[in-house]
Amino acid sequence: MVKGLANKILRVDLSDSRIWTEEQNENFYRRYLGGAGILAYYLLKELKPRADALSPGNVLVFAPGPVTGTAMPGASRLCVGAKSPLSGGIAKCEAGGFFGYELKRAGFDALVVQGKAAHPVYLWINNGEVEIKDATHLWGRNVLETQDVIESELGEKRLRTATIGPAGENLAAISCIMTDVRNAAARGGLGAVMGSKNLKCVAVKGKTMPQAADPEKYRDMARWMNTNYMNFGSAARFHDLGTGADMVGGNAIGNLPVRNWSGGQFDDVAKIDAAALRDSYRISMEACPGCQIRCKKVVELENELYKVDPRNGGPEYETLAGFGSFMGINDLAAICRANELCGLNSLDTISASGTIAFAMECFEKGMLTLEDTGGIDLRFGNVDAMLKVIELIARREGIGDVLADGSRKAAERIGRGAEELSMQVKGVEFGMHDPRLKQGLGLIYAVAANGADHMTGAHDTLFTQEGRGMEGVRSLGSLDPLPAGDLSTAKVDRAKNLHLSRNFGDSLVMCHFTPWTLRQQVDILRALTGWDYTDFEALRQGERVATLARVFNLREGLTAADDQLPKRFFSPAPEGALKGTAIDPEAMRRAKRTFYTLMGWDPVTGIPTQEKLEELGIAWAAAESVPE
């Protein structure tokens, strides 16, 4: 028994309604920890190679981490993943709110779902007791309605849920899973995986508080963060404004994405940032359990066209930029509504906005016509068109059906050269940060197993000058500030080590916005489990997770050729602060090679070497590592 853990993994096969629990030994937990580690392990072990992502053979994993469920700030999250219908590789997301916290307290380190139910169902996990319940009456309902109905039929208040809306039911590859209505396990199409299993919702209630090996030390560390977080500039900013406080500056240095990256400057940026939101529709800020930073915006508004309900939360930076500058839209109310529509329907706001912006550019360039769009004038800046298309995607109607599987698939269907406008890696649309500015992040966008995800890499602009930003990388052996556009070996090494430390964080699972250092995270794990865990093991854990995810992708048929940024980033930005700036293709090619080498992967194919797998204690994965 490992202290702090539930020491039990819940397994459910929906095909034959089988429910069982599994116990793993201490070495398993020390080797895979939780979250992203447990996800990668179960995907490789339990998914038949090349199984279709929307077939019963896909395995959907909800994995809190060792620290989840405790009162530690930042420790409430969980990792959710499966084989992605969007990329064909791994989908791995972290979601906030109370769902992960509650799942752990219900007595499970993870929930692993396989098979497909004969009719719509939901899972009811009540402090260790598990039931599969009929959800036929819930099919077709949005996320908020589903929550309300389940709460009332179970007679439970404050249920914690992971739910899909119509987009997930309709198997849109850009759909997501919503936790507690307003948080998302967003990327890679997990909503469609849940929908393909006829699983509408997982509802959880838990009461068992995990016990730390050294409760006093553990409490002290939690207290320390809750007393000191305001001394950290980043945390103080998240507390005041949440994400999106920096969009005006982002526009000034060329980070803000504009009109599907066909532009480079957005003059109305101050109308759509977090400060504008605070001064207009934001009514409060919310927290995840145990965290004083309270960075989650809640908005409320009503106009002649629509109402935005505060129960659906509020837009984060990615959404403000995605439905704002990325579509040439400056209407903050409409962005809040787009955020709500995506949430209710369980659409990933990043892939949805990326795909709609792509369609807008296609329309402007004549690759899509009024006939294709069913009469919708899908021009940049058209708010009504944006809101309409979100609903069409969720219902897979008309142009919505073309766009529901993301911009890569849509480009294949549209033809006419549209693939040049599809801004994604491995089919996964970009986070809203320009890789021509942040080239280390650009490298991670290219090589990360889960596609162009904005949380898997760290942002170069944090480490361009001396100061506290550098503290986070000095302990990783990176002593000198480096320019944001640099792709030297030193930069690749830094990007790789930050990628590894994020993968460790995603195994704990810790929120990346709480300003814990790697050392403190290790201390937290030591106090929780009683292990003599070290920083060395932490980075190795990050490496293990990234390597297992790589092995999974290779097995599923992805190759080094999929580690590729869109052509647009290799040609000069047309306007704004980055005007004339492009990524040097040769420098990026070299950086990728260096990254593979530093990871212990083959420098050309990116296949992890046998020695590396053995070193990481995952020699069993060798059989999976070479594509057929």
């Binding site: 500039g233 980043s234 900013r237 994400t243 999106g244 406080a245 920096d246 005006v248 984060e316 930076y317």
Partner: protein, 77 residues
Amino acid sequence: MRVKLEMYGPFQRFNKDGQLRAELDLEDNLTVRALLMNLGVDIDEPWNAALNGKLADPADKLSDGSLLIVFPPIEGG
């Protein structure tokens, strides 16, 4: 020299009279870092600046008519 200064988010309070946008009369050849220190910004906290539309280095020198925008580094979300 006269410099236009915009300071966003947590930095606004350090600008002249706590304004978002201000114009400042400054001695010639001042660097970005020196200006921020003079204004009382804790320059060890992460910050980014754009000088005349490009990501600035702390050692960049300001000149007459410069536009400097200071803001927290962009991350995540």
